[in-house]
């Protein structure tokens, strides 16, 4: 049975996608590391315009989000969609076309950023001519996935596929709304509202469903038992779909956008606790009686740690959207810590889990477990230190600003925290290189076995 499921998957395709994704991860986070050095050593690389802080910052943020996460999401989905539908990929050539197109998009965006070309909109910085190509890429991907799902041989539509289909629809709508309207038409306040709408939905309605689709796929296989409750999956999905689109304005609390929009954003942000806790209950329920897997199986280790961080992020998020918290933490390093917990802590870990699950099957050889553990612990410890340091620094900044301490003096006070952040960040980057090496090594050894 396993063998027959395997035959639906185009292994070379998945392998290429994942390996490329991890290379992008290493590059984007190395850029993040350079940025962290600039915080306490501003002269570092500062006289080369192409390596100016703001330009590298855009490369880091977009690199992690679009080059790493999305390439990986595409790659992982080309593995689980054929298996869950018992159907070969609808359009394999389209998947390869997307591969080249997507990498072209990433390279073009990086070059544009280094040249200083950006739209000036947070998280929608990618220049408009590239945005057109992204839409084409999403359409190619959509044809492939919907084509496969609509011609499937398996009657049941597993929850991962709901999330995936919905995410494709949301991505297309959100990307168009966020990149075109505030750039060409929506001025001032309206622009801010739509920008908040867009960039929270990038996380909430694009990355979250794509990440959860992977977690829902990995967990039952890793623990070798079905998902705890299909009813909970259903509630979690629809609660997410209904609540998330209203939360975006919480990035502009106390700005001149209408107060009622801010209030809706805060209320729905707190409501997000419902879909998140439902999903987490489902995941932990699946683990019931299988907790020993946590020490044995690397995929389970990653997916459970990811779930814990997902729970923490999505408790922190609602709390920090409250006006009383916003007074202190808005504009500070705290928010950066929060963003890393979502994108690294939850969703990157889900992808790592999928990689450790899939790579042995698509390469034909078990991965080095020791290196896998190094990856896990270096990343976990490094991230934990980094997040704590950023939260502490954010609170200190916020409180010093309220105390009206001159801005420059507050910069001096935070400096030591930024040094620690660099060390912790280096541990995370190192962990990604360990993963890359592990994948490369496994693949090479598998090839020499044949």
């Amino acid at each position: 049975m396993e063998e027959s499921l395997d035959s639906y998957v185009d292994k070379g395709l998945v392998k290429t996608y994942l390996f490329t994704a991890v290379i992008w991860l290493c590059i984007a986070t190395t850029v993040g590391f350079l940025l962290s050095v600039k915080f306490w050593w501003p002269a570092f690389l500062s006289n080369i315009p192409y390596l100016a802080f703001p330009r590298l910052q855009m490369v880091h943020v977009n690199g992690v989000a679009f080059a790493w996460l999305f390439t990986a999401f595409f790659g992982v989905s080309y593995y689980y969609v054929p298996r869950l539908t018992r159907q070969k990929l609808f359009w394999v050539k389209g998947a390869w076309l997307l591969y080249f197109l997507w990498n072209f998009i990433v390279v073009a965006a990086v070059i544009e950023f280094l040249l200083g070309n950006n739209k000036g909109l947070p998280y929608a910085e990618i220049p408009i001519w590239i945005n057109y190509i992204v839409v084409v890429a999403v359409v190619i991907y959509a044809i492939n996935i919907f084509g496969t799902i609509f011609t499937r041989q398996e009657n049941q539509l597993y929850v991962s596929l709901w999330y995936l289909m919905a995410a494709i629809v949301w991505s297309a709508l959100n990307y168009i709304i966020g990149n075109w309207i505030p750039y060409y038409w929506a001025t001032g306040n309206e622009g801010a509202m739509l920008n908040g709408f867009y960039f929270h939905n990038v996380v909430g309605m694009m990355v979250t469903p794509l990440g959860l689709a992977i977690a829902y796929y990995v967990l039952p296989i890793g623990t070798d038992r079905p998902i705890y409750s299909h009813k909970l999956s259903l509630i979690g999905f629809f609660a997410l779909a209904f609540i998330y689109p209203f939360t975006g304005a919480h990035h502009y609390i106390y700005s001149p956008i209408p107060v009622w929009v801010q209030t809706i954003a805060i209320v729905t942000s707190v409501l997000l606790i419902i879909p998140v806790w439902v999903v987490i209950t489902n995941f932990f329920g699946t683990m019931k009686g299988k907790w020993t897997k946590l020490t044995e199986s690397i995929p389970v280790k990653f997916v459970i740690l990811g779930s814990v961080f997902y729970l923490l992020t999505c408790f922190q998020g609602p709390m920090q959207s409250l006006r009383s918290m916003q007074k202190i933490i808005h504009f500070t390093d705290w928010v950066v810590g929060h963003a890393h917990m979502a994108l690294y802590g939850a969703f990157s870990l889900f992808i790592f889990a999928a990689i450790y699950l899939m790579w042995p099957i698509i390469s034909g050889k078990e991965m080095d477990k020791k290196l896998g553990n190094w990856h896990f612990w270096l990343g976990f410890v490094g991230f934990s230190i980094m997040a704590m340091v950023l939260w502490a620094a954010g609170l200190i900044q916020g409180i010093l600003w309220i105390a009206q301490v001159p801005f420059l003096n507050t910069v001096w006070d935070i400096q030591p925290y930024w040094v620690i952040r660099t060390v912790a960040g280096a541990m995370m980057v190192l962990s990604f290189f360990v993963l890359l090496y592990n994948m490369w090594k496994t693949n090479k050894e598998a090839a020499s076995m044949d």
């Binding site: 600039k38 915080f39 306490w40 501003p42 002269a43 500062s46 006289n47 100016a52 802080f53 703001p54 910052q57 200083g116 950006n118 739209k119 000036g120 909109l121 947070p122 799902i149 709901w162 289909m165 919905a166 629809v169 709508l173 709304i177 060409y184 038409w185 929506a186 001025t187 001032g188 306040n189 309206e190 622009g191 801010a192 509202m193 739509l194 920008n195 709408f197 629809f238 779909a241 209904f242 998330y244 689109p245 990035h251 502009y252 106390y254 700005s255 001149p256 956008i257 209408p258 809706i264 202190i328 504009f331 500070t332 950066v336 916020g398 009206q404 420059l408 003096n409 910069v411 001096w412």
Partner: protein, 295 residues
């Protein structure tokens, strides 16, 4: 079955578009959202000016160089920002802006009311080498906007500074002042001594001086800080007694110079950045420079 796929598609579209309409489109229809009028510093409604010419080009430089990555442009009504940065953000200020540049971080300070806060000289010196004016700052230097020295800005630097000088000046329209800072400086009246001249106060003053003043006035108060060469007229030398004679010798006079700034020079007002007790502390520290000389 196939139907469940359709349900998901419809639900996905439906909820998302509902969200877009409620928090995206309905606010657009509110007249307050698209107003081009703000309330000025004297409480009267004033139309906002659309920026044109060099300043409009400077805005593109601001986007290109990614200034918006580290600097926000909205002052919130909370957390004492009003006292620190200037008037609270009003909807009308933003409605000519495309794309909006409210920003998301304060790696550097908010720039909503940067217009008129510093002279062009100061801005050029700061862009060329931020560390010369603000020692220990983590701001990125922009030497590529200059022909080798802060005295020789490129056209793009001139445009960028022209843009910065327009920021937040609309609230001063119709008040007889050019900017919020000029208005604010005129409001500062001599404040009675809130801290007495103790070694503790001098130490506090030194900390503030070293962060905020030494870039121009020099670490030892000699008026020869790293940025001094770019500024005309040159910053005051505190080590001889001469500097006091021009503006009066009482503590109150000195206090007002620090609090209000000095018109037509690069000395900005500090009443917004520093609290009265901090200004007194700096004042006591400045006085130690000339005392050492005479001693």
């Amino acid at each position: 079955m196939k139907r469940s796929g359709n349900v998901i598609l419809i639900a996905g579209f439906g909820f998302f578009l509902l969200g877009f309409v409620v928090v995206g489109l309905i606010p657009w229809l509110q007249p307050k959202q698209s107003t081009h009028t703000i309330v000025n510093l004297k409480g009267k409604p004033e139309p906002v000016n659309e920026i044109t010419g060099a300043a409009a080009k400077g805005r593109l430089v601001y986007i290109h160089e990614g200034c918006w990555v580290c600097h926000s442009q909205f002052v919130r009504p909370v957390s004492g920002e009003k006292q620190y940065y200037g008037p609270v953000a009003q909807a009308g200020t933003y409605n000519y802006q495309l794309p909006m540049l409210m920003g998301k971080r304060r790696i550097g300070p908010d720039l909503s009311d940067e217009g008129g806060k510093h002279t062009n000289d100061w801005q050029f010196a700061h862009l060329y080498d931020p560390n010369s004016i603000s020692p220990g700052t983590i701001m990125q230097p922009y030497p590529w906007l200059f022909h080798g020295s802060s005295a020789k800005p490129t056209k793009r630097a001139v445009e960028l500074v022209a843009y910065l000088q327009t920021l937040g000046t609309d609230v001063a329209e119709g008040t007889g002042y050019k900017s919020y800072w000029q208005y604010k400086a005129a409001q500062v009246s001599a404040v009675s001594t809130v801290v007495s001249n103790t070694p503790q106060a001098v130490r506090e003053g030194m900390k503030i001086y070293n962060a905020n003043c030494q870039g121009c006035h020099g670490i030892k108060g000699g008026g020869n800080g790293p940025a001094a060469a770019s500024l005309k007229p040159a910053p005051w030398n505190f080590t001889s007694g001469k500097w006091m004679s021009k503006y009066g010798t009482t503590d109150k006079d000195i206090y007002n110079r620090i609090a209000q700034g000095v018109p037509h020079t690069s000395m900005p007002e500090w009443a917004t950045t520093l609290k009265p007790n901090q200004i007194w502390e700096v004042l006591y520290y400045i006085k130690t420079f000339s005392q050492k000389k005479t001693a």
